[in-house]
Structures are given as C-alpha cells and as structure tokens.
Amino acid sequence: MGRFIIRRLIWTVFIVLLVSVLTFLIFFVLPSGDPALRFAGKQPTAELIAQARANLGLDKSLPEQYWLFLKHLVTGDEYGWPGLGYSFHTRDAVLPELINRARVTGSIIIGGAALWMLIGVPVGVISALKRRTIWDRGLMGVCLFFVSAPVFWLALLSLLIFWKKLHWLPGTGYVAFAESPGQWFAHLILPWCVLALLYAAIYARIVRANMIDVVSEDYIRTAYAKGLSPRRVVMHHELKPALAPVVALFATDLGALVGGTIVTETVFNMQGLGNWLLIAANNNDLPVTMAVTIVVAAAVSLLTLVADVLLAAIDPRVRLQ
C-alpha cells in the first residue's frame, strides 16, 4: 500500500511535469504569442519590445525559461511557495489569486458533487429496484434528457427562467461565504443544480446498471437463501458492490472537474480556475496558464490515486499494485 502510494505519487509528479512541458510548448507555438508586445506600449519601438521581453524573462532560451519556472516552483519565489510567479496580464502574484479562485471552483464542485450524489445514487437504486416499472422508465428518461442536454444551454435556460423571468434568484457572480452565507448560497444554487443534474443523470445510469448486474450475482441468491429480508439484501449486500465503482468514479470526476467547470464558470460568471484559464489563454498569460494547468493535472492525478485507494478500502479483492 505504502509503496503503491509512493509509486503513484512519483507518477503524479511525472504527469504534472509532462503536462507543464506540453503547456509550455503549446504556449510558445502559439503564433506571435508574445506577451511582451502588450507591455511595450501603443507605439512600440524595437527597444521597448526587447525591454519588455527582458522584464518578463522571455528573452531567455526556452529550456532556460522552463528551468527557471521549475526552479521557482520547487524553491518558491518572492510570493511564497510554490513559486508561480506573477501574471503577464495583471502583474499580480499568481499564488494568492490561485487560492482565491480555487475556493470559488471548490465551492461549485463540492456543492454540486454533494447534490449529484444525493440525487444520482438514490435515483439509480430506486430505478434498479423498480426495474421495468413506470418509475424506472420515467426516471431513466429524465436521466437521458440531462445526459444529453449541453450544460451551457441548461445554464443559460435556467438563468433565463429563474433569474430573468421569475426573479427568484439574485443573478450571477460569486459572493464569498465569509461575506454573506445567504448570498453565497443563493448565487451558487443554480450552478450546483446545473452541474448536479448532468452528473446525477450519469451517476443514476451507472448506479442502476451496477445494481442490475449485482442483483443477478450468485451471492445475492445466497443472501436470499439465508433467509434475509429483501431490505437487508439491498442495504447490506447489493449497495456496497454496486456503489464501490461509483465512489472511485466520483473521486476521478472531482479531479477532472477542477479544470472542467470552464463552461459553468463562464455562464454563471464565477471567477474560478476554469474562467481564469480561459482568460489567461486568451491573453497569452503563461504563468497563470502554467499554474492552473499544474493544479488541474495534479488534482486529476491525485484524485485518481484517492479513487484507487478508496476502491481498495471498500473492495477487499482489489489489491494496490
């Protein structure tokens, strides 16, 4: 177990490095992706551009720039540890902003995730237990609808209805919890719901399929042959194996969402990581792009690791290799 985790952590570091190198390369093959131009004023002279380039450290060779980036990442810089430098776009230190925005993205993901588990798992279980009934067909129809509906469209539609037409909600944007818990909630409820509906639908379908597989397992027949009540069979024998892969999937999805809420954040005007990344990519803001990419890659890798460990904890058959 310990060795497994260490090996996987090394793999995570490798992935993060690889992703950072790829990001770095993509950034520099971007045509005329020279952020220095922006700092050279309206009528740049060759000297001004060169100066701006030197100020941003862009005058050094690519490997040297990357090496400096790595060095700062590991040893920290004037803005703290890990050293992520300052934004080419705003000149603000990346690290504190990264933390701020991670909070926003975290609020969206955690709330949405809680909601989708609360909806998705029971719906999947009920559907499987009431298999082939009107309940099952109805719920699965609704799930298929939400699996097929584009998130950005649902988001816009929900804003149109609940904000613009019904005036039930205060609008878009993020309000910090510390500022006003009520407003925090009111602003997050729609993003949560929109995010949750898609994933709840996916999860309900998966849980249902798993449940149906499990129900036909021999050990469920054994359980009935033991004289257990149907309730006990469901709760004690069917749920665990049906949900074990879902728990693992859940951790993986959480990781993927750290970078996957771009659309949600854009529509709901949340200043999260995804939104930041989009702005950074549009502005050739290398340090921000690198920081977010690394966080996202690390989150995905680490949560995949968490998923594996969780699965091993739930299912004694799984051994961590």
Binding site: I26, S148, F152, A281, A297
Partner: protein, 280 residues
Amino acid sequence: MGFIVLLVLVALFAGPLASLIGHGPNELFQNDMLDDFGLPKGPNGDFLFGADASGRDVLVRMIYGTRVSLKVGLFATLVAVGIGVVLGLLAGYLGGIVDTILSRIAEIILSLPILLFAIGIVTACGASKEGCARGYVKPGVTLVVLISAFFTWPVMYRIVRGVVLSLREREFVDAARSVGAGPFTIMFREILPNLISPVIVYASLMVPQAILFEAYLSFLGLGVPDSIPSWGRMISDGSAIYDVAWWLIVFPGIILLLTVLAFNLLGDGLRDALDPKSDR
C-alpha cells in the same frame, strides 16, 4: 432512429430546404430583422425561428448546423474508433512493452485537462490559414474532429484492449495459432470480427459525446468559423442577449438536445441488442 434519419436528410438537403424557405445561411437581413440598435427581431411568418444578432435566419442556420454536428459526430468517432481499435488490438494481443507504452499514453491523455489543451491547440492551429502540422490540420471542422478524436481514442482503446485480453486466451485463437497464423492475421482476421459488437456499442455512444464536444468548443468560441453555422456557436452568440432574444438559445438548444438524445437512445438500443450482458 427516425429522428436521426430525418437529421441526415436535413443535412443532405440543407440547400434545397433553405431555398424553399428563401434565405441563405449567411444571408443578412439587416434592414428587415434588426432594429435601430442592431438587435434581432423574433419569430414571425417569414422567419419562423426569428433572426440572429447579424440578421440571419435562425431556422436556416439550424438546418445547416445539422451538417457540422453530424460531420463531427461521425468523423470524430470514426477516427477515435480507428485509432482505439488498432492500438487496442496491438496492446491487448502483443502485450509486453507495446501494451505498457500504449496504456501509459492513453492514461496520460485521459488525465490531461481536455478543454485547456483544446483551447491551446485551437489557438495554435487556428491562427493562420495554413493551420498547423505542415498544413495538414486546417482550422474548422477538421480541427474539431481531430481534437475530439485525440482525446477520446483512449476510451475505445481501453475497451478493445480489455476484450482482446480475454479473447486472446480463447480456443479459436489457439486454434489459429496452432495452424501457424501470424500475429497480424490473428489480430485482424480472428480477433477483430469478435470486437465488432462492443465497438459498435461504444462507438454509438461516442457520437453524441463528439457532438456535444463540438458544441462546447463552439460555445467557448473555439469551434468552427462563424460562416459555417453550428448549434453551439449559435447558442454562444445568443448568450449575450438571451434575455431580449430568447429564440437564439431556445431553438438551437432544443435541436442540439434532441440530436444528442437521439444518438444516446440509439447507443442504448444498440447496447441492449448487441451486448448480451446488458438487460434493460
């Protein structure tokens, strides 16, 4: 299924349909359909689904949008399936170092933040007419197809590899091996035919994913150019003024939803029909 046939027909006969309506997909009706503030007018007898912010017929653009969605859905899936099946076969059958390397690559691709790299690649390839990769990759539908395929082939790869791993030990493979068939003959003549049903099932489920992916990219302004109507892009353009022009997001959204829904249903149906394990 009927809906998909209808979509294909609409895509094929978009031109005649548009001329029946009398509006081209990029024809601007600025004077008729935009007010003094340049804001579009809603559905009326002539423009059943209203006009967009440039004064173009939303219905006609939706009809043409069918083409992009179907093209991306179909070709992205074909490419991803092609790569996934070939590599999955190789990895599953040959095993060893080939399997290790390919599986690692698949794992890395699956752990990349897709949208981020899509943004990067689109920006890199979309900046000049020549595109990128020596001009083989041109911005637009092709680029969307390739990006979508690039990020989805590992899914197909994993499925095929898994199936091949279990097939490899089966009797008919042993039999083929015993009569001296080479690895490639076995892979493509003996094992490949057995992959058809799982591949069809999962491929049919990749189609709606690819269609949605195009919509997402287009929504973020990274998809096809404006002159090629795309549902995602239409919704994106409409999102700026959805409160005064609801028809810009409602109609393209519904058609996108119905299309994805239809393909999902088709995929589910195929799975039920072809996969003996599934049981609805």
